[in-house]
């Protein structure tokens, strides 16, 4: 089984402001229009089939106001930092077949997400394209099990060409062409990640550098054509949560 980088989720208070700021900071362009359920995303291709989804959860505002509190992701993004509250909310790895995904789900004590027939359970684009995916580990609601916060989950996409990494961005001045992820600064240790991935050494299969801090993505280094490498640095959500015990489930 080959485990690949799939994407990073970057939570933002305002995905429009965050995308504009990232463009100014790095020259990396983005796509607009993707959404699923209560989340809208701006997609930032990083080259080599990997992307960042800058995600804004909590649509509608009415649904958010009625949502049970405290809310893990909201509280993390509510924590001020030098990036207007941006936090890496997830790292998602990819496998090439549903069978491999099921194997991972089983190994981690759960399963895979159902292939929801309702298209609104999957990412939609304005052009009508529905980007179906399934992920693992999935734990049935009420099972009492959840993924350890800050550990990556795994995705399977039946349609590779439809992925955001392969779609064009908005044209803007001073864009840079990304050529792929060079390294990832991750919290925790090599041993923790290797155990999660069930491999002898995690940094042999993915370009991890472990900083021993709170679990989650701390920085992503992206190569570009005709320019210096870009380092996108944001704290993971875990780093900004004061008391994890007050939150009920993984978000």
């Amino acid at each position: 089984m080959q485990i690949r980088l799939n994407h990073f989720a970057l939570g933002a208070r305002n995905i429009y402001e965050a995308s504009a700021r990232l463009l100014k900071e790095t020259g990396l362009g983005h796509q607009t229009g993707d959404w699923v359920g209560n989340t809208a995303c701006h997609m930032v291709p990083l080259g080599g089939d990997v992307f960042i989804e800058i995600e804004g959860t909590f649509m509608s505002a009415h649904d958010f106001l009625k949502m049970p509190k405290p809310n893990y992701t909201y509280d993390a993004l509510d924590t001020d930092n030098e990036y207007n509250g941006d936090h890496f909310t997830g790292m998602m790895l990819g496998v090439d077949t549903l069978e491999e995904l099921e194997e991972i789900g089983k190994r981690l004590g759960g399963g895979v997400t159902p292939n929801w027939p309702d298209p609104y359970r999957h990412f939609q684009r304005p052009d009508g394209y529905v980007r179906r995916f399934q992920s693992a580990p999935y734990y049935e609601p009420g099972s009492g099990k959840s993924r350890p916060r800050g550990m990556p989950n795994f995705y399977y996409y039946p349609d590779i060409p439809g992925r955001p990494a392969n779609q064009p961005v908005w044209s803007a001045p001073h864009l840079k062409i990304p050529t792929g992820v060079k390294w990832i600064e991750y919290g925790g240790t090599e041993e923790e990640m290797s155990a999660w991935l069930d491999v002898p050494k995690a940094s042999d299969i993915l370009p991890f550098r472990f900083n021993g801090k709170a679990l989650g993505t701390w920085a992503v280094c992206v190569g570009v054509e005709d320019g210096d490498d870009i380092v996108i640095r944001r704290p993971p959500t875990v780093a900004s949560i004061k008391d994890p015990s007050i939150y009920k489930s993984t978000q």
Binding site: G29, V169, S171, A172, P173, L175, I177
Partner: protein, 234 residues
């Protein structure tokens, strides 16, 4: 009201290689404008913001062009081995102004609007003047023509989005325009001071020779032969 610059016209023998060359030289964004309703001419554009753009045209169906009737710009582009400037086009806001201009120079408003079919379907329509009976085409005389866009500049070519590309500059109109001929003749034709359009004159054969494009990286010069030149030397 004084006219303003609307667009610059460039003729090419191969629209794809021309655009490739121009975008690398200018580092400005472009888009596919579709084709003209005569089905012969293909169109791509470089929006320069500030209501101004460059359009590059080339024959895209040579079989539809009777032998010997290729556009003059194509013959010159083939002869010189490069794109050629055909001319400058100005803009006024109302058809009443167009009528006044056409009358002043002894012609009329072109009864046939210029129609371009965009890749996404809608027609892009503009009206030009003057059409002077028995006269040479204005471009061949090195003289600008005027355009009026319908519907409050709906979908004006200068405001359309471009293909995403690495390292594009942000343009903001033109700083200067280098014309052949002389200021006096041009001023008489325009009915306004050529300096109001940023024109300066090189004394060569009448025509367009170069433009200075304002960008966030300074003014960049785009120089090509005029389609009115007989040889590359003038």
């Amino acid at each position: 009201m004084a006219a303003v610059v609307d667009h610059f016209h460039m003729g090419s023998a191969n629209i794809y290689t021309s655009i490739d060359k121009l975008q690398k030289e200018l580092r400005l964004g472009h888009y596919d404008g579709g084709f003209m309703s005569n089905v012969v001419i293909g169109h791509k554009a470089f929006p320069l913001n500030a209501g101004v753009y460059i359009e590059v045209e080339a024959v895209i169906d040579p079989f539809a062009v009777p032998a010997g009737q290729e556009p003059a710009f194509q013959k010159k582009a083939e002869l010189f081995g490069t794109e050629v400037w055909t001319g400058v086009c100005l803009r006024v806001d109302t058809m009443a102004e167009m009528e006044d201009i056409a009358k002043r120079v002894g012609g009329k408003v072109n009864p046939h609007p210029s129609m371009r079919i965009r890749p996404d379907g809608p027609l892009n329509k503009s009206i030009s003047c003057p059409q002077i009976p028995g006269g040479k085409p204005n471009f061949e005389l090195g003289l600008p023509q005027w355009y009026c866009w319908e519907d409050r500049m709906y979908r004006h070519p200068s405001g359309m989005p471009t293909v995403p590309m690495q390292g594009l500059r942000k343009p903001n109109g033109t700083e200067w325009i280098e014309m052949g001929g002389d200021e006096g003749t041009m001023g008489k034709w325009l009915g306004q001071d050529p300096k109001t359009l940023g024109m300066r004159f090189n004394g060569k054969k009448p025509g367009l020779y170069a433009i200075g494009i304002r960008t966030d990286g300074g003014v960049i010069e785009l120089r090509r032969p005029s389609a009115n030149q007989d040889t590359l030397d003038g």
